[in-house]
Amino acid sequence: MLSRLVSSRSYSAAAGAARSSSFVAPTEEKVSRLPSGISVGSIDNAGPVSQFVIAYRAGSRFEGADEAGLVHHLRHAIGTDSRNYLGVKLLWQTGSIGGTLNSSATKDLLLVQINALRNHAPIALSLLGEFAQPALKPWDVIDNVTSFKNSLAATDPFDATVELLHRAAYRNGSLANSTIAPLYTAGKVSPKKLAKFAANRLVASETAIVGVNVDHSLLLQFANEQNVIPAGAGSSSIPASPYIGGDSREASGTPLAHVAIAGAGVGLNDARGVAVQAVLSAAIGAGPATKYSPHTGNGIVTGSVLKAANNNPVGIAPINISHSDAGLAGVYLVAEGSKIESYIRAAVEGLKQLASSGVSGDALEIAKKTAELNVLIRGENPTTLASDRAAQLLASGSAQTPVEIAQAIAQVSGDDVKKAASKLVSKLSVGAYGFTAHVPYADQL
């Protein structure tokens, strides 16, 4: 089934790569790097809807000590006036080509995404260029305060837990900077500070432009002719952030406890390690995919947690996070705050069992197939396909298609998974949100 998707790969100038004939249109993916520093990538599935993303190395890890929460406000400023055009005009034109604008931020990246019908691709690209360089006028920044407060109110507990996990794992390092700004920054962010951060980070050599279902030549033409992204390099190199491990918790009003237990993983610059971490997280397991499913989910940690839960409700998901140079792998649990302690201990028991005896035979095969499936399903969504590609380009300069990652996963051995699991349990971090009174600390596990 995988062989039906033929990927032909070429780098900037080479055009005539051989394609085998197939009744399914072949996928073409290309990567270029321009002299201005912009990385350009494209994947052409011959689909009718194009997806574009401009990604900057401007995530929360680049915030200075006095700039906490700046990236969250910058993300909210996407969609406002640019230097030459009013935001209202740009948004209306986006709507008129049937497009949607999204802006998101991770610890490494600030992403601005737009999609449109394929024949409107040139307009969508120029709109995206304008959106990706907001003028950050003081009155626009003030107008965004309400939407910022609304976004805080709508924060997922999972996201809050993962931020706490990063604070626990990286302490004062750059990867601990939260992508969710604290409430006290509402109305207090100086537009000058925002503009300075944007001028430092939203520059050509920190940019990747990725398109799905678009001609590579169109992206190259746009990247060469555009005059919105200023030339230059970011003012500082990526601040290193070693894994330390520990605890961070935040109590809140819910009776549930959301707990993330994780250890050191790998970053996107290690392509083989990413494949191993995918298999590891599939071996850790997940809860059932559907409601009321009689199937309780695969995975060693899932098994031990469900046994400890004894038919009480518990939510389990693996944590599989890869930033550009570091990552986290582990498990996320949600349950009643009063019952969470035994589930956490069972989860850590499962992780230690993974580390000591590894996975082999059927369990390894199931984990590998599940990991492949997850990667391929994620690659079917053009939004995540484009943003994953941009993240890979900015992390390592090259990118793998989902098919290539699935092939790498098929090569993973039980030994690799065991090594990754041992690294995981050697120093654990615990991030807890909600009813945290019964959540044990990392050194008690």
Binding site: L86, V88, K89, W92, K137, P138, P191
Partner: protein, 138 residues
């Protein structure tokens, strides 16, 4: 000739009509057809503040260039004190054409562009143009 040269402080200001006839008219109106010079005011000090566009332009001026807003406040305060005492400044201290900066023009132009853009697109009225009812709190 001083009428054809825009004052140095206004060199970034764009006027819609800027040929020689309009420059001359602008100069003559500024010198003879308003009374602000003798109170030390600039042209944009006299704009009708309760108008929604002017209120919004002044708010933006305060956010982006607060020192200009402060200088405007000082000029207006001095002018009002003079007017209360039925005095004017001595002739040497009247505002000169070279000191004129049409400081509100960029903001007013942007507000007009936003209004046109809203009409051409969604038709939604921006907040500063909505009528305010009692007890709004803002």
């Amino acid at each position: 000739m001083s009428w054809s040269v825009l004052p140095a402080g206004a060199k970034n200001v764009k006027f819609a009509y800027n040929n020689s006839a309009f420059k001359y008219l602008r100069y003559v109106s500024w010198n003879y057809f308003w009374g602000g010079r003798e109170y030390g005011l600039l042209w944009h000090d006299q704009y009708f503040e309760p108008a929604p566009e002017v209120t919004e332009a002044l708010r933006r001026l305060n956010l982006k260039e607060p020192w200009l807003f402060d200088q405007r406040k000082i000029r207006l305060s001095r002018a009002h004190t003079l007017a209360m005492h039925n005095e004017t400044l001595p002739k040497q201290e009247w505002t000169k054409w070279e000191d004129e900066t049409f400081y509100l023009k960029p903001y007013l132009d942007e507000i007009e562009a936003e209004k046109t853009e809203r009409v051409k697109s969604s038709g939604l009225i921006p907040g500063f143009l909505l009528k305010k009812s009692a007890g709004d709190g803002h």
